[in-house]
């Protein structure tokens, strides 16, 4: 039978084994449990109140792993990320789904993690390790541990854009989602980061589009180049929502809309 254990102090967490799941908001683990909990041997239930805190730290903002989407939406420091938090489910889901959980949400979920990828967040593990979110997502499923928090740099709201494409509104699963960090200095773009959700088995960066934009001004020629290169780094697949072919066809179109919205 599946054991459930409270974890009041995340720093004293036992080393998780392969059949251990961490329960925070419940939108993934409870769903699995409702459907039989196959493959789950033990559930660690996060109850450490420190994990829900959001506060400034250095030049950025630290978001506890158990902070919910509603918590993010209530934090003025995180305004740039509000559009991404706002599209996670309906209000009830946003009261439950956590930032830490979103890092582990399988395709086609994980729009918020994708936004964190574009924001170049750092992931802090409960054992003290920290690593860039891209590395954490890349090893997802192969590494074990409990995420305690993520830190995001302070983002200018005007330099961060998010777009979710879904068939139903306001709540629908992503056909794809896009986030772009477009820092500017002296009329030119700095180091651009563009993330795509639901265009692979995890949030991925559109490295071709990033290179086409970084260091250039955001003019039609640069947008054309970014759209032409936007599939570099992405690995879309067929799923019940859309085919790989469709996703490849529309990805440049939605990236163009997002970029033109910025100008």
């Amino acid at each position: 039978m599946i054991e459930i254990e409270r974890l009041d102090d995340v720093a004293r967490a036992p080393a998780p084994g392969p059949d251990v799941r961490v329960l925070a908001g419940g939108t993934l683990v409870m769903r699995a449990l409702n459907y039989g909990g196959h493959g789950i041997g033990r559930i660690l239930r996060l109850t450490d109140p420190a994990l829900r805190e959001i506060h400034s730290e250095g030049g950025g903002v630290r978001i506890g792993a158990a902070a919910t989407m509603a918590d993010v939406l209530a934090a003025p420091d995180l305004a740039a990320l509000h559009p991404a938090a706002q599209v996670v489910g309906g209000p009830a889901i946003r009261n439950m789904a956590t930032v830490g959980g979103n890092l582990f949400a399988p395709h086609p979920y994980g729009d918020f993690a994708m936004a964190l990828l574009a924001a170049n967040a750092q992931v802090h593990w409960a054992d003290g390790r920290a690593e860039p979110i891209e590395a954490m997502l890349g090893a997802r499923g192969r590494s074990a541990g409990i995420v305690a928090a993520v830190t995001v740099p302070r983002l200018q709201h005007s330099e961060f854009r998010f777009r979710k494409v879904s068939r139903t509104k306001p709540k629908g699963v992503s056909l794809m989602s896009i986030a772009a960090h477009l820092p500017r200095a002296g009329g030119r773009l700095g180091d651009v980061r563009i993330g795509f959700g639901a265009m692979g088995d995890r949030p991925l960066r559109a490295t071709g589009a990033e290179q086409a934009l970084s260091g250039r001004s955001l003019d039609p020629a640069a947008i054309d180049a970014a759209c032409a290169a936007c599939l570099d780094g992405l690995a879309p697949a067929d799923d019940p929502l859309a085919s790989e072919w469709y996703r490849r066809q529309v990805a440049p179109i939605h990236l163009r809309r997002l970029l033109e919205e910025v100008r």
Partner: protein, 640 residues
Amino acid sequence: MSSVEFRKELFADERQDDLKQIGRPAIRQDIRGHVTGRTAYYDDHLFERLLHMRCARSPHHHARIRSVDTSEAARMPGVQRIVLAKDVPNNLNTLLSLINFGKDDEPLIAGTKVSYRGEAVAAVIAETELQARQAAAAIRVDWEVLPHVLDVEEALKPDAPQVNAVYPDNTFDYEPYDHVKLRFGDVHKGFAAADEIVEATYQMSPIEQAPMETCGAIAVPETADRILCHTGTQALFFSLGTTAKLLDMPSSRLHFVGGTVGGGFGGKVDSITEPMAVLGAVLTGRPVKFQWDREEEMQVGAPRGAERWVIRDGVMRDGRIVARSFTGYFDSGAYTRLSSYAGTKGVGHLPGPYSIPNVAANVFCIFTNRTPATAMRGFGITGVDFAIECHMDRVAERVGIDPISLRILNAYRDGDMKAHRRTAKNTALVECCQVVADKAGWRLSAEDRAASSLTGTTAERQAIPETALDEEGRIGERRAGRVTGTAPTERSTGRLPAGTRGRDHAAIPVQRPDMEILSERVGHRMPDPAEAGGAPPLAAAAPARPTPPAASPPPARPASASPPPASPPHAAPAPPPAPPRQPEPAQPAHRSEPTAPTAPARGGHDPAPPAQPKPYEPDKPFSRGVNRPGVSRFLTGRRR
């Protein structure tokens, strides 16, 4: 708040306008329960020591079951009972057997073979739902995976995998053919005379009803050796009868409670959860709940089946459609359920609401290794309507006519003869087109604006033409490779004389006198042969000896003992034929007919029906129409 708009100026003289409810706001009688959370759906009943039942299901589209190993599952915590095919007393059924339509073709729990992904092979009954789920996952099945077929036209090929052993040709039997035939006029002659031929194929995918409440039932042993069953079924007595049959149990032992349904849309008629829960309660002696989760509802719940339609129109340059043929494929999935009925019902709807002098249709109900299909909101109609209306637009484009104008030109008028040999009445497509065009700001010509459903019929539109007959596609011919075509054939083997109206289904003697359709109780006027103008009258010309039904061999038919192919579709609307009467043009629509002096409703059939009701026979076994030998032994109930 209502967005309903009444167009009372239309057909004003045909309508009573002293209605007390229609057109007025109403408070639902059940809504107070809904908003207080007190409406009791099937699952809103609490029972001590409730057990939970979950199925182990096939991961394959098509596979033989070599063996089922339940030893590990049986040892798991909380498990009370494992249920296999052998535990189902009469493990073969078809839903419509209760009305004597179709052959038993589907097990409740598969024992030897699965024919669609998600088909149940075993069930576990345990103390908690989680225990039942985990034990069901521990059931090991040794599968021999078989080739499968998922496409209707692939399934018709002689070498296609055989989906359902009861229908070895992968087609439902519409005796004597493997499809439903509709023949009206000579469609190929019509094509030859047409200026343009427009042909296209339309395809609809399955659609899940997806009710908010998933299918389920709770069965509870009662005193007096009865089983109480709370169920979300849309068809309470259908589910009761099906349970009685599958479990070989007198229906008097079953106490079904239902009628409060958390959304159905057709998906809750299939009567699977009720026999499962009742079987569980019988085997354990405890209350048992069998509830589909959302994944089962989507994967196993029978959807509106996929349909494919090939429509071929012969059109004149002025927009008149002079011939239309259909080749229809209903994807029944692995078992019949209600798709056999979708086929006949769909054919009864052809060729859509248009007056077309030459119509032919071949419509197949085909077995594939997909989830069985069933009822859903107008099933059998919605798909072909989509196809027809898409096709009308295509035709309009080809001949360069405004699409609404094309519809008004071809729309039925009162008095037109329909392809299944009934006179069109209460038609209203012309007016619908006019209102829609008005609403959409679409300009219509003065002629189209002046058109009316009440006028415009002609002797030609009222006539039943000479009809070309054929006998292609008898059951088994396709599998044997003797027939390959699916469209209505050009090789006619006989002619049905003009004016032959066809068999009147309402004329079939009813089983009990109290089932007789009485015109004054139907609520609308009976068809009046006098109104049919040039159409050969059914009864008026020879009231003493009504027209023989089309089912009797027409003169030109080759000598053959087989039934003729020209029968109108089974699903044709079957109003009782009109008794002969004096023309009374001003008679209001809602008044009852005068009593017929003879009994023309049964005119085509002899012997004449009994003049008096049969005396009540309490010793006669209670039968729901399942009377084929060896099919069911549930006929143990007695009339009370």
